[in-house]
Subunit: 304 residues, 2 copies
Amino acid sequence: MSLLVIGTVAFDAIETPFGKTDKIVGGAATFGSLAASYFYNKVKIVAVVGDDFPQAFIKDLNKHTIDTEGLQIKAGEKSFFWSGKYHNDMNTRDTLITELNVLADFDPIIPESYQDCEYLMLGNLTPQVQQTVINRLKNRPKLIVLDTMNFWMDIMLDDLLATIKMIDVLTINDAEARQLSGEYSLVKAANKILTMGPKYLIIKKGEHGALLFGEGKIFAAPALPLAEVFDPTGAGDTFAGGFIGYMAKVGTVNFNNMKNAIIFGSALASFCVEKFGTEKILNLTQEEIAARVQEFVSLSKFEI
Amino acid sequence: MSLLVIGTVAFDAIETPFGKTDKIVGGAATFGSLAASYFYNKVKIVAVVGDDFPQAFIKDLNKHTIDTEGLQIKAGEKSFFWSGKYHNDMNTRDTLITELNVLADFDPIIPESYQDCEYLMLGNLTPQVQQTVINRLKNRPKLIVLDTMNFWMDIMLDDLLATIKMIDVLTINDAEARQLSGEYSLVKAANKILTMGPKYLIIKKGEHGALLFGEGKIFAAPALPLAEVFDPTGAGDTFAGGFIGYMAKVGTVNFNNMKNAIIFGSALASFCVEKFGTEKILNLTQEEIAARVQEFVSLSKFEI
């Protein structure tokens, strides 16, 4: 039994109103697997990097009990690189550079030892690669969570629709839910998206929290109001990784467990944005996470 | 002991993607007093109308046990009139017509029988008129809630700042909190605003719910995800009225009671937007309100 995370392992260069980084390690599978590792100790990744990627960081992943057998290292090639600049509101950003490099012809090879996968997080990637991973698993995982973005809706909607037919939980933001459904009301958008395949939909609303739809129910999770958002990069991946890591820990897929999984995912994401890149989520303690989750409890609890 | 609501009693003409109205009754004091009346039976209003205002509607207010002794009716003059058109997102609107009419020289006269006021809702009006009401009350009310908007921040900030020094709870939306404080982070904005006088701040975020700040604590209330928002006019006034009505009912001013008051206010507001104008909140039952509040409970409850 294991939790497989697929996505990018890559370099980011980030500029925010608070500062600027050189190339630092980022990527959906990086953030997702690190977040999941706080709840579950059989996290495995499938990703591709060039030989410019630091061995030391792979060791950091391994220290988090993350299995990197499925991390392909392409000799003589370069890792995926993204550079972006956040605006003052920290909600919008401009992409400055995208260098696909090794990602251009990424073939997600699943090691034989990964075939015990019960929980699958498909981090943001081309829908075809996401679909290939599902097809290459001999047993259909118990829970498949897919994260995607507007970019794939713009340029390969048919592939995306084919892929989300095969999954259990879709995580997108509110603008993407509106785009995918053609409905402005998020309730109508969710109802429509839930006819496209997924049994559950999580709509991420950044500083406004998240909504979970499924089983005819709705759950509204708050976001922790933060004085400073230092760098939002990776927050969505961290959220998804924390979510599926918690689900793997509890082991039963239902709406109630997903509510808690959203709170734990949100707690991890709230740490992620406090520093650049993976700095904060590389070094959390269980005590810090428990305290942060309690902040979510007191933030939203009322007794009527 | 009574709850005084001051604000406009007026006509609105509204256009939304769902339809269009002729002149219908609206106004902050109308929505606010009706909402409060579901929780407290000593609601009194101070407002001004022209003799074009329908007597039948005043009777409707009285049926809700709302005392209209302080409703001035100016012979030969016309009631305040606002006309607006909502965009497709229902969050933004254009003002088409504003006719101040009787509001231009509104002098808020407080009947002697209103001097038992313990709870005061200052609905959106010029800051000077709001301040005059406070000054004319012989005893300082136990709880003063003030609702305002960006318009007064734009054109008479000094008067507004002088008035909010005198109150307990300020209710504004997120854009207004950012404008008033000059801070983008709502946590920083709230901290700054809480140094300006109010002990509590409620930031209304529309479809994203509301945040309550005060006593060093934060509460995040969800909004009910709605399939249809028919007409948002009056939702903020209804929220404020429901909030203070509930506070008057429980009688003790503290953060915990305010959390529930926000849920009750949000429940009333969620009804308000289901029909044009006051149509829905004129005819609610306690059972409907209790059921709606339970929807808020199940929407946001989780057990960790």
